[in-house]
Amino acid sequence: MNDSIRTFLRQPSGLLGLAILFLVCLAAALAPILYPGSPWDMVGAPLQPPGTAGSLLGTDTMGRDIASGILHGASVSLMIGIASTIAALAVGVTLGAIAGYAGGMVDRLIVRFIEIFQTIPNFVLAILLVAILTPSISTIILAIGLVSWPPLARLTRVQVQSIAAREFVQAARCQGLGSMSILLRHVIPNAISPIIVTGSMTVASAILIEAALSFMGLGDPNYMSWGYMIGAGRTVIRMAWWASLFPGLAILLTAVAINLIGEALNDALNPRISRS
């Protein structure tokens, strides 16, 4: 494990990712201090370009401060990204592990189920879910979690299957260990690292889905969101490019940072690379 941490820290791209993510977290933490008011409040004239009238990144159609929106949006994005990934991991890893370890009929059924879910255009399902269940933080998390689990389930299944076929697992059975303790003590620990990597990347894609949902007008109306800001800026892009440019950059940076961390994790946890 210490080896992995060292390999991770040796990679400049991973460190860069960590640094950016740290800044995003800092932004989320500092939002209520730097911009104590609500990001929905009008602070000046509408459509002011960046740097004018005391607003760092300009104002939008309603005179709301873009910089304030971005800082306040950070925590919502991160929270939804992480929460929906945890939900997706819970479903995906459980189903994938059961399918991979049980095999036979159970496996075939679960695989079929995964395949059906992968066929469904996941963003459309997310739209449908949020629209019908009415937009709120919890329905958004539910929807994103529900459309993000299939790749994790697939990966877990393949991993568990390949580890379970290894001879040390059979040896453990011969040693008299029960199925549950073999799964928890031998199979999962050896199968987990690619799942951690993909899980971390899932946070980025969840943030992107959340942004797209709020862009479509399906965000939680109580929270400022980056996607919503771009959606609001879309109609005035000819007059006020800043209203959509900056929130987009915020999403982009956050997602890049998470992916960089994911890749560095991959190199650190993948013994084939870290050994050489």
């Binding site: 469904i120 255009p121 449908l128 892009i237 000819r238 959509s244």
Partner: protein, 324 residues
């Protein structure tokens, strides 16, 4: 492909469609409030008489099993319901929007696959060199870019600043007077930005995968064999690496079709492209649930169709699949 295999494939597709239809059914029942109000949308939610009519039509007073059976029966006969808001059958609404969506997604699919394979192979072969670094970095950034924002930025650059390409719509408003060739050209011009937007994001994904795949294939024994035969590096790349390395990309592209059609929804919204995605946006805004549900079903079927297509490509590329 044997008859039995085709049969089992078709059965699989039918099962998938019915599961998706069932999800639709459950969703409407899971919605807070009266399902009749959900189906009626915001159009007539207050009119009790109208709601009663909807209830009768959908058999909402029947047990759930009967309702589900009736709904599946409707799906099987291609009856996708009625948009009370637009006062038209959902089937007709979808049919007239299908063409533009197909045009957009298929062009984006081809752009992404071809571009991804070419750039990914280039990066993989030049593993560790400057061109690899440039392609990898660009792919990393594009991969993390929100599609709709990327589209807006392209509009900002190519339509507003440079004025090269039209920013919105499917065809010019004066297109009625165009000849067939000029019309096609105009559509193509309008297609450029949306197809590029949607294609580029997935291109980034496939390029990353292709790069990794090329690096992996380069270490295979048969590449050593090819080298031992005296082939040039170019011949090895063309004759032995590309096809093998693109296999995982094709598999992955097949899995991404669903996501891509989802991506089309936002891209169509950004570019006011008159396809299914745009219809979804309008339906979401007006909470027109019959349209949403119908669209969800049709788009799923679309994914299945494109999956069949990628399957076919897969079989063409990999002889091992064709025999099994």
């Amino acid at each position: 492909m044997s008859l039995a295999a085709i049969f089992s494939r078709v059965a699989g597709i039918v099962i998938t469609i019915f599961v998706i239809a069932t999800i639709n059914f459950v969703l409407v029942r899971a919605a807070p409030g009266d399902p009749a109000a959900v189906i009626a949308g915001q159009s007539g939610a207050t009119d009790e008489k109208f709601l009663a009519q909807v209830r009768a039509e959908y058999g909402l007073d029947q047990p759930y099993v009967v309702q589900l059976g009736a709904y599946l029966g409707k799906v099987a006969t291609l009856d996708l319901g009625y948009s009370y808001r637009l006062r038209r059958p959902v089937k007709d609404l979808i049919a007239e929007r299908l063409g533009p969506t197909l045009l957009l997604t298929l062009s984006a699919f081809l752009i992404s696959l071809l571009g991804g394979v070419v750039f990914g192979a280039l990066a993989g072969v030049r593993h560790g060199k400057i061109s690899d670094l440039a392609i990898s970095l660009l792919a990393l950034i594009l991969y993390a870019t929100p599609v709709f924002w990327f589209g807006l930025m392209l509009v900002l650059l190519f339509s507003i600043k440079l004025e090269w390409l039209p920013a919105f719509g499917y065809v010019d408003m004066r297109a009625g007077s165009f000849g067939p060739f000029a019309y096609a050209l105009d559509v193509l011009k309008h297609l450029c930005l949306p197809a590029l937007t949607l294609g580029a994001i997935y291109m980034a994904m496939y390029a990353r995968l292709m790069r990794a795949s090329v690096i992996e294939v380069a270490a295979e024994d048969y590449i050593k064999t090819a080298r031992a035969k005296g082939l040039t590096e170019g011949a090895i790349l063309r004759g032995h690496m590309l096809r093998n390395a693109s296999l995982p990309v094709i598999t992955f592209a097949g899995l991404q079709v669903g996501a891509m059609i989802g991506g089309a929804v936002v891209v169509e919204t950004v570019f006011s492209w008159p396809g299914l995605g745009r219809l979804i946006f309008d339906a979401v805004t007006s909470r027109d649930y019959p349209v949403l549900l119908g669209l969800f079903l049709v788009m799923s079927i679309l994914v299945i169709a494109v999956n069949l297509l990628t399957d076919l490509i897969h079989r063409l590329v990999d002889p091992r699949l064709a025999v099994r």
